[in-house]
């Protein structure tokens, strides 16, 4: 790298984390009263909320599938979530992330039990500092469980990456911008099935393996946090 080293110093990152550390996490379930299920997730400076509605009737009718239900995801960056105000409304990036999130979540939901119906997941990023799709997916997974949707397991997501030729876990804003690789994954940590894997940047197989290993470890920690948040909902119903 031609740039002077500033993202990594003596194995410490700009916010003082080691290479395998996640940012501070916070999670909550059932934050919205009017949704069937809802969730909140925060990783450092990235926060997202998610609401689930359904299973409910799908319109327009021609999109209904006779043998199974569908899952629809909306991913949105709120205008105030980023440094320069984002123009509200659908964007190419938002639609694409919504689409891959559908893939990441629908494999875990028993959609075959809801022919012709839809389950709608709305994810809103309220503060963005890299890793927004992972945080949004974590919130969405909490929301799905909170809605009582039958699932094979929870989906947990987390990103790994490479900065200054070193694989690290959970990039934050500056690291994402000046780093070399960003690798977000989503998975069911109980079965080790990966349901989303994207990558941006250049790497080789060796580093890829290292990053994947880091990300999988990260997902396991995320899953614990999600579990904690969902377990709290039991206390409220006592």
């Amino acid at each position: 790298m031609s740039k002077d080293k500033k993202l990594l110093k003596d194995g410490k990152r700009i916010d003082g984390r080691g290479i395998g550390d996640l940012r501070e996490m916070e999670a909550e379930a059932g934050i919205f009263k009017r949704a069937d299920g809802s969730g909140y997730f925060r990783m450092g400076g990235t926060e997202a909320v998610a609401a689930v509605f359904g299973p409910r009737e799908l319109h327009p009718k021609h999109r209904q599938k006779p043998k199974r239900g569908i899952l629809q995801c909306r991913y949105n960056l709120t205008p105030f979530s980023v440094e320069d105000r984002k123009r509200p409304g659908p964007s190419r990036r938002g639609k694409e992330i919504g689409k891959v999130s559908e893939g990441a979540l629908s494999s875990t939901v028993f959609l075959e039990e809801f022919p012709t119906a839809t389950i709608d997941v709305y994810m809103e990023v309220i503060s963005a500092d890299a890793g927004t799709r992972c945080v949004a997916l974590n919130a969405a997974s909490i929301a799905l469980a909170d809605a009582g949707v039958p699932m094979r397991g929870l989906i947990s997501a987390c990103a790994a990456g490479k900065i200054e030729d070193t694989p690290v876990l959970d990039l934050k804003g500056e690291e994402d911008k000046d780093g070399q690789v960003d690798l977000p994954i989503a998975m069911n940590v109980d079965t080790d099935e990966i349901t989303l894997l994207q990558m941006d940047g250049m790497t080789d197989t060796e580093e890829m393996d290292e990053m994947l290993e880091l990300a999988i470890k990260g997902c396991k920690k995320v899953a614990e946090k999600q579990r904690e948040a969902l377990m709290k909902t039991f206390e409220d119903s006592r």
Binding site: R56, E57, G69, V149, P150, R152, D190, R227
Partner: protein, 224 residues
């Protein structure tokens, strides 16, 4: 024989392994690689050979034999559509809708059940595509006029009914209200001290998974 991995009444999340080996997978669970896993957020119930999970929340999916409370949402040439608070509307045919002969040339179907009216009805058939057929043939099925409607989570319906109907009988007894509970979580309350009955029903909905529910509800009913 299989191995049980959770205690009775423990809280579980989707994907949690409940048992290994020969255990039967009951409601709210699924079997994968010889393991019984939970599919919902809920409370595990273990039997000698079977494990099920009672969901904490969740919508209503029609099941054959369920008695439900629904709202007439549409009228066709010889049938009614009934909204059930579920992704699937119910279909009530003319033959199933009334005991008496109805001459379609003489009668308007809205004279029997009009749009917006509430009925207590039975689910008699659900196809694999989730077409729901309803019937009013059972003697306790009827049109519900007057009264008030309250929605509770369908997963709390068994708690509201109680063992052998003990919970709902207690509420009826103390308030003098008539109460009809649909499996879809719609509850009809009429007469007596409606406010008190509604408060008791909402308490069951909110606190339905804790211990000592009967005492809590009793306290509310005795308070006035």
């Amino acid at each position: 024989m299989g191995k049980k991995l959770v205690e009775d009444k423990s809280n579980v999340l989707p994907g949690d392994v409940l048992a290994e080996g020969d255990y039967l997978s009951g409601r709210g669970t699924y079997k994968e690689d010889g393991k019984v896993k939970s599919r919902v957020l809920g409370v595990a119930r273990t039997d000698k050979s079977k494990i099920s999970v009672i969901p904490l929340t969740g919508g209503y999916i029609p099941k054959e034999g369920d008695k439900v409370v629904g709202k007439v949402s549409g009228i066709g040439p010889s049938h009614w559509w009934i909204e059930l608070d579920s992704p699937y509307d119910g279909y009530l045919s003319l033959a199933e809708g009334s005991d008496e002969f109805i001459d379609l040339d003489e009668t308007d179907l809205s004279d029997v059940y009009d749009i917006g009216e509430i009925i207590y009805t039975e689910v008699i058939k659900v196809t694999s595509e989730k077409d729901v057929k309803l019937s009013m043939q059972d003697r306790i099925c009827k049109k519900l006029s007057g009264g008030r409607i309250v929605r509770i989570s369908p997963s709390k319906v068994p708690r509201l009914i109680g063992k052998g109907g003990s919970m709902v009988e207690m509420i009826k007894d103390k308030t003098g209200s008539r109460i009809i509970i649909g499996q879809n979580g719609i509850v009809w309350v009429s007469g007596g001290e409606e406010d008190l009955a509604l408060e008791a029903i909402k308490t069951v909905d909110k606190k339905g998974h804790g211990d000592g529910l009967t005492e809590k509800v009793e306290k509310i009913l005795n308070r006035r």
